[in-house]
Symmetry: C2
């Protein structure tokens, strides 16, 4: 897998872990362990930094030699109630500020969906929220990455479910700091994925998340696998991603009650080995 990573990185330096992947560890432990494993990047989940001094944390990450790749996650813009939509905008301004404070260049967006209304309405609300927030984020040096989610999350999590929809939405918003994030878990099944990646400019692609789809998948949210444990054709998709000119990290984002219940040092070792494989 590492053959396609940026040539300036060596070992596991092109690898980034999402803190949620090793959720049992406090972020301070994660920073220490990731760095010790030679991993180059960290994507911070918001819940991992609750009650933390962000300046202290930022320094700790820097001292450990890790790059903050992104902050997960903003979004959830869709609601059939105006008050909720406004609250989401406010919440996202806080997320953007947090990203800025942590030195994260990117906020990953799970755009939201409201089962009380049509997906088409949710999509318009998401568009409007992005138009509102993009300048706010730009002023703080933060990019906004639209992550299309698997269609099985179209009820409550995201009305943006294919790469095409994410790309077209980003283009409609038309701000250079609004782009897309590709996660193989959400998009591997799409027969148009290759063609859509070919349409993407590298400057539209802000992030690349990897993991695997287990067979059978026993829980819709928390049964993701380590790369190689499932049926996602990761090498092929990674090649398509790199052919866009994308030179960012391979970010490992795994939600798994199975893995969270295991020894996290062992899990980390399995992830770095799977990535080298």
């Amino acid at each position: 897998m590492s053959s396609s990573m940026s040539e300036t990185r060596t070992g596991h330096a092109g690898l980034c872990l999402h803190t949620v992947t090793t959720r049992p560890w406090p972020i301070e432990t994660a920073i220490e362990k990731y760095a010790a494993a030679g991993i180059g990047g960290i994507t911070i989940w918001r819940d991992a930094v609750e009650d933390r001094d962000t300046a202290v944390l930022r320094r700790q990450i820097q001292d450990a030699g890790l790059e903050v790749v992104s902050l997960c996650r903003g979004g959830f813009f869709a609601s059939n109630e105006l008050q909720e939509r406004n609250a989401a905008l406010e919440d996202n301004r806080r997320v953007i500020e947090l990203a800025s404070d942590l030195g994260a260049p990117l906020v990953v967006l799970v755009c939201g969906a409201d089962p009380r209304q049509d997906l088409a309405d949710s999509r318009e609300q998401i568009h409007d929220a992005l138009v509102t927030l993009a300048p706010y984020a730009a002023e703080r040096g933060v990019k906004l990455g639209i992550e299309p989610l698997h269609p099985m999350y179209a009820d409550t999590r995201s009305a943006i479910n294919t790469l095409r929809d994410a790309r077209v939405l980003a283009e409609r918003v038309g701000e250079t700091n609004v782009g897309v994030v590709v996660d193989v878990y959400h998009l591997w099944w799409d027969p148009e994925l290759e063609a859509e990646l070919k349409k993407l400019k590298s400057e539209q692609l802000f992030g690349y998340h990897i993991c695997d789809w287990r067979v059978p998948t026993e829980h819709m949210l928390t049964d993701r696998g380590i790369m190689g444990e499932g049926c996602i054709p990761l090498a092929k998709i990674s090649t398509w991603v790199r052919e866009t000119g994308f030179s960012g990290f391979d970010e490992v984002e795994i939600f798994s009650t199975r893995l969270w219940s295991q020894d996290q040092d062992t899990v980390l070792k399995r992830i770095t080995e799977a990535w080298n494989g």
Copy 2:
């Protein structure tokens, strides 16, 4: 919902139930109960007719005034082992014969996927199987309906996950007895559903399955809802389906451990009331 059904049918006559929807009932009970409720059609699941005399069953259905709408299900054509692909072809010939024996004009196909190989390979194998089987089915007066399945089933159940893929596949096969089946559960999320339905000719659309997507969905296979229990915009989709010129039944296909554990007379009543609503 009933406003858009064929004008020649009255009451619940435009409604069809899949035997799996009332799985606790033996098919003989289902026939009796559906007919008593004024339901016009029955779609037979293969497991419901195991060890039955098909001639006796066919007569019973006819005497009850029910129309056999389709037989569920054939397919599972994809495999990375030739022997398994050949076995699937043989099995599907048996399904086609069973449909013919039961007077079912249509076999619904869950086309299959093999997590050991690329989805693109599975798609080619599905195409090849359809080319092989279409004449066999045509000789017996049976149509083959490609049912695109939700992308969450792309690992083992079907490599055909959007209406576009199903339509394009049917057109590639190019036989008049090969078409598509639309199920709202699988396709409701697709932003291109309306546009794709507009591209469909009525003679390409062989069946229409309805139910609802519950929020939250607690099991990937067996937590479907009765129409109105979830977030699928059924009235809108039904309008699009009817605008193709489709004049077939609204087929209720619900897999639900929750509903299967309840009194089936009550479930049937809820379904017919939901359909009228």
